[in-house]
Symmetry: D2
């Protein structure tokens, strides 16, 4: 961490600041210039409140050289984390496809889709029981009934289940769920993250629409600080000025996160683009960019899906997609 | 609402779609072109799920002509709403300044700041007890103790209190709080919004960093759908590519929201800019743009504030600001 | 095109507006609602000035149903355009890699890099002679000398040359250049586009940092309106709030543009990410998303490149990249 | 400037880098940490190519502490610049309103509007003769004829003229024009900026839709590096995800630029919002934020304006606006 002192700072002020840093266990190096002094801080600065520092009258600016995230930081954990989802591994070379409908609608629907996607190579089943919808007048999900139907589909097919939580008070319902998803709109619902940090569930943490990669990692840090290190990160599109696609899938996030963290990283092209015909090309692109997995909406009757039908593909389309994704993965290991 | 049908749609398909719309109580008008047909829908379309519609194979595109928000819509409620906060009114020409520290830190601090800002003309006291912080390693607020200290400051000064909630489970603690703030990061925490819709508290709803005005109004709609119409909207800066300021205060949101909704609209220049020296000019600008109020961070010792010190102004600076804001308000009523 | 009339519009006003539309050769369909009337316009509306229409007092809003671009629109030209660059074809299944240094620096450098990239499978040579730099104090390129060196490299290797123009007054210098690049910052330099429309050169048009796909196509339209239809579009990253990467490569632009236009589409991962270590994954991703080509910065001594060294890869890295890209391309044709 | 060296850099490599910096006339300070070394550079670093530095293999990251702009930097020129426009001064407490139609359409129109806005207190006349339009099919301006009509209006009213240039080849036509405007889309048309740097004209430089304040100042730097210091900066809205307004007027840019530069700063609420009914509140807000002037579109018949009618106000509306703006200005000097 680098702190630049304002012109006119006295030696005494500077020394007292340096003393304060040393008391925090940091090494302090001072460079004196004609107009300004620069203080270099070396050591674990993740506990230094940058807002507090910037508020001091003698400080012109403060810049972090090292990242504020610790537990998720690859520097302190060089090997890829491999997350175990009831025997199915993700990360460290293990690639998985999570597929299923946007919402669980009925027993027939979820079991049919589960069988279809399993046959095509999906290794986890997704399906929304609690749905965050922009409008209070839109369908909000089947809630507890949806969870039951997902568990029936699990029993029927053996596929582990991934589904979204919106409220920590519902955690009891998720006891037999394998992967708990935190949606983009809840990425900075810090109370929810803290609650999930106290469980030992696998958490699928989606990047918020306007959140930086650093903030995504800080949200992972909230969960990890509670003791739960089973986290999968998910890029699902960010908000930009472009309107032809619903969001902009930021695929450079994949190799960039790979460098910054040891956690597995997947992509969700369905929500990112909002258009079923863009799901295959963006799935292949995400795989080519090095993703550890994909999350894809598949519906046996997308035309009549209760939500987000426009972005769901059919089981047949998924079958082709999954095949091509496997071929792209082979190229990467050349 | 306008639905454009794809080339090749048969007359039968078109008629059956029109029938479906009529069954939803909508007037249907069809324009036949050489290549495409356009269906115009007139009536209350707020219940039509646009995602579902877009997913039909015969639909090329769907556009809403009228807004999906109802309870907050000025069209159905032409007069400004005036919200009563324990006798202090906001909206419909009533302007209020909410001031106080980012975080409640101690009895002395909160009472001193409360007295200072009251003397300068603030009519509500703010102060954070539950603090959403990007990093789990930063100060998170005094929680229940912070609420108690705020209530002491209320007793001492008579100022109504505004403070942020992060978890519906804490609602009991907010019984004597006058204005419950929903922070930007929770603007689409729909479960929290639903819980607040069941109370009769005044809710201060902040716009999310990447949320459109339409989404802000849809979130207000979540609260209003539950029966609580006591909502104040707050513009607090959106996320853009500019890095000199923390966020970009979108002041055109004020006159734009004024047109769209009857709810009061305030601005928070402290969080938007993140820089104390920009608070005065942006407060004056917000008042000049027609805001119904301001929310401003004031700290008696900003240099040592536990969070966001860089954006807090001193009581003396606040005194000058409040005076100038009143003068700008006078210009508007010329 | 749909025009919604304001409440209170008289029948006479409406009829006179409809008459005006009919005089422009458009079919007019009116839907009367209780509160508003909707006018549907069918025909070639690309000449209708939407700003003018919106300014009429009886108009509430206007929405285009069809796109304002014509010559570049796939609807009127369903087959992929194949652009011929001195015998090298791009588009319609033909994939090409343009590679070379950010700036031409010396005879040795450009010829060496040209030989290297040709050996690895590049089919065009890039190299900047006129460099748009944010700062007037940074290196601006070798100008005419740079063009000469590029032409020497062409003579030596047979590779066609792509290089950027910044000023239509320099067009004479580009006589033997095969592909003239319009940089992101000049995408809406309409006078430059018009000048290029009068040539028969192949134009590589880069998307501006804050430009929508529609605006990119409208800029292509400027060139095509002048008679030059030899245009290659290039996605090179858009500006977002993320700071770890220089820009955000919007790969969904590739399949989206594919749908909207018949022109070839390539991607430039070097400028988009600004980081050499992200060039390979993003190149593979762009190929997987269906790009017709790539533009990649390669430098034989990236550490000492005069500009943008941080984003250049070595000839060895390029060799591996080009091989993998070919393999990914094979997967797409499965 | 701060350079952080990678772990593993040898003492020899470090010393040779320091030597290189010293040869550039910079003071060099080294802080040695356990894992990394930090080099602090003090002196004029505006000539250091940050891209080149970042490309060195021993460098982890480079951060500028001081700004890369020099001539426009307030640090080296603490007093406000006052620009003289044919006797009309702007900056340093002098406030001016530039008003007039989007496009010059006819002799009658421009002279009528000129007389109207002068009577209401405008001190410069604007009017477009060269119009940058997104679509080649839209009206592009009267060109030389438009310039002639503006000069007639100047003769008639005595108002100095501000109008946009799109091509340096047209400079001869601007000989009697008082203020040459560089539009947002040309803010980084560096060749145009260089040409304007060789004139002694007053240049009104508009911020690009996706350009940072730093980039705006670097573009001013291009003009100033040529010797022309007569520059007025203009905030005219940036591109964000919000769609209710055309762009987002970034008013915090005004106090922020005030701090960074000595150049005058004005705002253009007409282009920023695209909506005539938002022009008054945003004009008042810009004045309250401390702008040195405003640029406002006024048309005597906005309903039939040839371009951007939706954002033009009438002379009557302008009269009220100008009066209120003067009153807001009085509050600032309290």
């Amino acid at each position: 961490m680098i702190a630049v002192l304002k012109q006119g700072t006295t030696t005494q002020q500077r020394d007292s600041l340096c003393e304060w840093f040393r008391n925090m266990g940091l090494e302090v190096h001072v460079s004196e210039g004609r107009y300004k002094s620069i203080i270099g801080l070396i050591g674990d600065t993740s506990g230094v409140d940058i807002g507090l520092l910037e508020s001091l009258s003698i400080i012109e600016s403060v810049k972090r050289i090292s990242e504020p995230f610790k537990n998720s930081n690859r520097k302190f954990h060089p090997e890829d984390s491999v997350i175990d989802i009831g025997g199915t591994k993700i990360g460290g070379g293990n690639f998985q496809i999570i597929a299923g409908p946007c919402s669980v609608e009925s027993r027939e629907q979820i079991i049919q889709v589960a069988k279809n996607v399993k046959a095509s190579g999906a290794t986890l089943l997704r399906g929304g029981a609690f749905k965050p919808r922009t409008s209070p007048y839109d369908f909000q999900g089947l809630h507890a009934d949806g969870i039951s139907l997902l568990l029936e589909a699990k029993k029927e097919t053996g596929l582990p289940i991934a589904t979204e939580i919106m409220n920590a008070n519902d955690l009891d319902l998720f006891e037999d769920i394998d992967v708990i998803q935190v949606g983009a709109r809840n990425m900075q619902n810090f109370d929810l993250l803290k609650s999930l940090g106290k469980t030992n569930k696998v958490i699928l943490l989606k990047r918020g629409l306007a959140n930086t990669l650093k903030e995504l990692l800080m949200s992972a840090e909230y969960i990890m600080a509670g003791g739960n290190e089973n986290i999968i990160l998910c890029e699902r599109g960010i908000r930009t000025f472009e309107t032809y696609t619903r969001n902009t899938l930021d695929l450079s996030a994949i190799p960039m996160l790979r460098e910054l963290t040891h956690l597995p990283i997947i992509a969700d092209p369905s929500h990112a683009t909002g258009l079923s015909r863009l799901v295959e090309p963006m799935s292949l692109a995400a795989a080519a960019a090095g993703a550890d997995g994909l999350m894809i909406e598949v519906h046996n009757d997308p035309e009549h899906a209760l939500c987000d039908g426009a972005q769901s593909i059919t089981p047949e389309q998924f079958d082709t997609l999954a095949l091509k994704v496997r071929k792209v993965r082979e190229v990467l290991s050349l």
